[in-house]
C-alpha cells in the first residue's frame, strides 16, 4: 500500500456517489458536442418560423388556418389570439418528426459512436462497467428528450410573447382558464411530449449496441421512426396501430381539455414504458455479452 499513497494524499476509499461522476461527464460531453447544439438550434428555429409564418399570414386580419389554406398543425388557428398557443402548435409540429429524429440521432450514437471513435474500450477499461455505462447513456438520452422539448417550448413561448398578445385562453372544451394555469398546462404538455420520446430513445440505444458505426445506428433509428409513422397511416394495419410507439403521441392535446381526458395519455405512457423495458433489456443483454473489438 505504501506506493498507492505516495501519489495521492487522500486515502482511496471509494464512495458510491463517485459513480455519478460518469453521468455528469456524459451530460457535459453530450451537450458540448457541436452536433447536439445544432440539433437544439434547429428545434429552436421551428417555432420562430411557425410564428413568423402565422404573423405574415394573418397580417391582413384573416384568421390563420382558416379559409382555403388547408389544415395546419393543431391549435394554429388560436395562435393570433394568444401567443401561448404557439407552444402547443410548435410541439404538435415537431413531435411527429423533428423531435424524435433528434432523439434518434443522440440515442443511436450513444454506444455506436463511442465504439466508432474507439473511446468505448477506454471507458470500459477505466472501468466504467457495462451496465453502468448503458444506464448512464440512457439517462443522458432521457435528459436530452426533456431538454429538446423544453427548447421547443421556451422558444415558442418567447416568439409567441413577442409577436402575439398573451392572456386568458380557451380550452378545447370551450371553457376559459387563466394565463397562469395555461402556463402550467404548457409545462405539463412539454413533460408529456418528452415522455413520449422515451420509447424511441430505448429503441435507438438498442440499435446502437448492434453496430460499431454511429452513422449506421442513427440512420437505422431514424429509418425505423419513418417506417413506424408510415405504418401508422395505413388503415389496413389497424390491429397493429396501438402497439406503434408513435400512435398516441398527439394525445398530449387532451391536456388542453377541461376536464383533462386521461385515457390516451396513460395509454401513451404505458406504451413508452413497455418500449423502454423491452428494448432497454435487449440493449443490456446485447451490450453486456458483446465482444468489444472496436
Amino acid at each position: 500500500m505504501s506506493r498507492a499513497e505516495t501519489g495521492t494524499p487522500v486515502a482511496r476509499t471509494p464512495s458510491p456517489l463517485w459513480s455519478l461522476g460518469l453521468l455528469r461527464s456524459e451530460l457535459a460531453t453530450t451537450f458540448r458536442r457541436w452536433r447536439t447544439l445544432a440539433l437544439l438550434g434547429v428545434l429552436a428555429a421551428v417555432p420562430v418560423l411557425v410564428g413568423i409564418a402565422v404573423k405574415i399570414e394573418t397580417g391582413d386580419g384573416s384568421p390563420a388556418g382558416g379559409g382555403g389554406g388547408g389544415e395546419g398543425p393543431a391549435f394554429i388557428a388560436q395562435v393570433t389570439n394568444n401567443g401561448l398557443f404557439l407552444v402547443f402548435t410548435a410541439l404538435a409540429a415537431t413531435l411527429p418528426f423533428f423531435l424524435p429524429m433528434a432523439v434518434g440521432v443522440v440515442a443511436g450514437d450513444a454506444i455506436a459512436g463511442e465504439a466508432n471513435a474507439g473511446t468505448l474500450r477506454y471507458l470500459l477499461v477505466a472501468p466504467a462497467g457495462r451496465t453502468r455505462l448503458l444506464l448512464t447513456k440512457y439517462a443522458t438520452t432521457m435528459v436530452f428528450c426533456l431538454a429538446a422539448t423544453l427548447v421547443v417550448a421556451l422558444s415558442a413561448l418567447a416568439v409567441g410573447a413577442l409577436l402575439f398578445p398573451l392572456g386568458d385562453l380557451t380550452t378545447i372544451s370551450g371553457t376559459r382558464i387563466g394565463f397562469a394555469e395555461g402556463l402550467g398546462r404548457a409545462l405539463l404538455i412539454a413533460l408529456a411530449v418528452a415522455a413520449s420520446l422515451t420509447g424511441i430513445a430505448a429503441l435507438g440505444l438498442f440499435v446502437s449496441t448492434l453496430t460499431n458505426s454511429g452513422i449506421a445506428a442513427m440512420a437505422t433509428t431514424v429509418g425505423l421512426l419513418i417506417t413506424v409513422q408510415i405504418l401508422d397511416q395505413i388503415p389496413q394495419l389497424d390491429a397493429l396501430h396501438p402497439y406503434l410507439f408513435s400512435h398516441y403521441w398527439l394525445s398530449f392535446a387532451d391536456l388542453m381539455r377541461e376536464p383533462v381526458l386521461w385515457d390516451d395519455l396513460t395509454r401513451n405512457l404505458g406504451l413508452q414504458a413497455l418500449y423502454a423495458a423491452v428494448f432497454g433489456s435487449a440493449a443490456w443483454a446485447r451490450f453486456t455479452a458483446k465482444d468489444i473489438n472496436a
Partner: protein
C-alpha cells in the same frame, strides 16, 4: 478457482504472476483461431515484452486480459483475479493503452483525461484535477493541455493515451504498441518512462512488433506467432540460447569464405563485403591467423551479438515482418 478475499494486501494476490493465462483460446465467429491455448505467466515487477508480427494474436490476448472480449475457452487471471469476472476490482489498478489512443476530438486534452477519470468509480473526484495535471506533466503535454485533441499530432495523441493510463498509481501497465507514431526522441522518452515506472514497482506489459525497442527495456519476453506462444522467459535466456555469428569484413570474400570453411566454420553466407558463419568451438584467433596466412585482406573481424530478432528467426524459421 477460489478467489482471494477482497481485503488481501496488494502484493499477495499476484504472488504467482501478475498475469497468468492457462490454455487461453479465442476463436472468432467464422472459425478463425486468433489465440490458441496460450499459457502466459508475467512475473510481478517485470518489464515484459510481448512480441510477434502483426496479426499474431497479441491484441486479441490483451483484449481478453482487459475483459473486453470473452475467451472461447481457458482462463486468464490478472492481479490474482479471473477476467473478465473480476474487472471491477482489477481494472482500477491497471493502466492500459490498447491499439493506439482514442480521444474525443472536440474536447481538449485535459477534458479527455477528466472524462476517462470520471469513468472510473474508484477515482476520487476531489483529486481529479490534480491527478490529471500530474499525468499531463509526466508525458510532457502540459503546454498543449488546453488544445482540442483533434489538433494533436499522432505522437501527441499517443502521449495523451499514455497519460490516461497513468491517472492513478497502477500495479500493472499494459502498453500495446506504445511507440507507434512517435519520433526517435519520443521513443526514447517512452523507454525512460517505462524504466521509471518499473523502478517504482509497476509491472509493465509491452506489446510490440518492433524487436529492438523491446530488447532495450525488457527483463522478460514472450514471442507469439499465428496465435501460438513460441517461447517465453527472461530476455537474457532467450538471447543466450543462440550463439553469436562470426562476421568477417573483407574485399576478398571468395577466398575468405573458402578459408573459413576449411577451418570448420559452417553455414557460410556472403553478403556484400561481409562473410558470416557459425564459428566452431575453440580459439577465434586461429581463424584470423588462417585468413592472414591465406593472404585474405581483413577489414573487420568479430562476433555479432545474437538479438531477439535472431531468436525469433531461429524459433519460427521466418522473418519477423511476415504477417500471420
Amino acid at each position: 478457482m477460489s478467489e482471494p478475499p477482497a481485503t488481501a494486501p496488494d502484493g499477495d494476490d499476484a504472488a504467482d504472476g501478475v498475469i497468468v493465462t492457462r490454455a487461453l483460446t479465442k476463436r472468432y465467429r467464422g472459425g478463425q483461431l486468433a489465440v490458441d491455448a496460450l499459457d502466459l505467466t508475467v512475473p510481478a515487477g517485470s518489464v515484459f515484452g510481448f512480441l510477434g508480427p502483426n496479426g499474431s494474436g497479441k491484441t486479441t490476448t490483451i483484449r481478453m486480459l482487459m475483459g473486453l472480449i470473452e475467451p472461447t475457452s481457458g482462463t486468464a487471471r490478472v492481479l490474482g483475479r479471473p477476467m473478465p469476472r473480476g474487472a471491477r476490482a482489477v481494472l482500477p489498478r491497471v493502466g492500459a493503452l490498447i491499439e493506439g489512443p482514442a480521444l474525443y476530438g472536440f474536447l481538449s486534452g485535459r477534458d479527455n483525461l477528466l472524462r476517462y477519470d470520471a469513468a472510473d468509480p474508484t477515482a476520487d473526484p476531489r483529486t481529479r484535477r490534480h491527478r490529471v495535471a500530474a499525468a499531463l506533466d509526466r508525458v510532457g503535454l502540459t503546454a498543449a493541455a488546453g488544445k482540442k485533441a483533434k489538433a494533436y499530432s499522432l505522437g501527441m495523441k499517443q502521449r495523451l493515451g499514455l497519460a490516461a493510463a497513468l491517472l492513478q498509481p497502477r500495479k500493472l501497465l499494459v502498453l500495446d504498441e506504445p511507440t507507434n507514431g512517435l519520433d526517435p526522441q519520443g521513443m526514447r522518452e517512452i523507454r525512460t518512462l517505462v524504466r521509471e515506472l518499473a523502478d517504482d514497482g509497476t509491472t509493465v506489459f509491452v506489446s510490440s512488433h518492433l524487436l529492438d525497442e523491446i530488447e532495450q527495456v525488457c527483463t522478460h519476453a514472450a514471442v507469439m506467432a499465428q496465435g501460438r506462444l513460441i517461447t517465453q522467459g527472461t530476455v537474457t535466456d532467450l538471447a543466450a540460447g543462440l550463439r553469436g555469428r562470426l562476421v568477417v569484413t573483407t574485399p576478398d570474400t571468395g577466398d575468405a569464405a573458402r578459408v573459413l570453411k576449411e577451418n570448420g566454420v559452417t553455414d557460410v553466407v556472403v553478403a556484400g563485403d561481409r562473410v558470416r558463419g557459425d564459428a566452431p568451438e575453440g580459439e577465434l584467433a586461429d581463424l584470423t591467423a588462417a585468413l592472414v596466412k591465406a593472404g585474405v585482406r581483413v577489414r573487420g573481424f568479430g562476433i555479432e551479438r545474437a538479438s531477439l530478432e535472431d531468436a525469433f528467426m531461429a524459433l519460427t524459421g521466418e522473418g519477423f515482418d511476415v504477417a500471420g
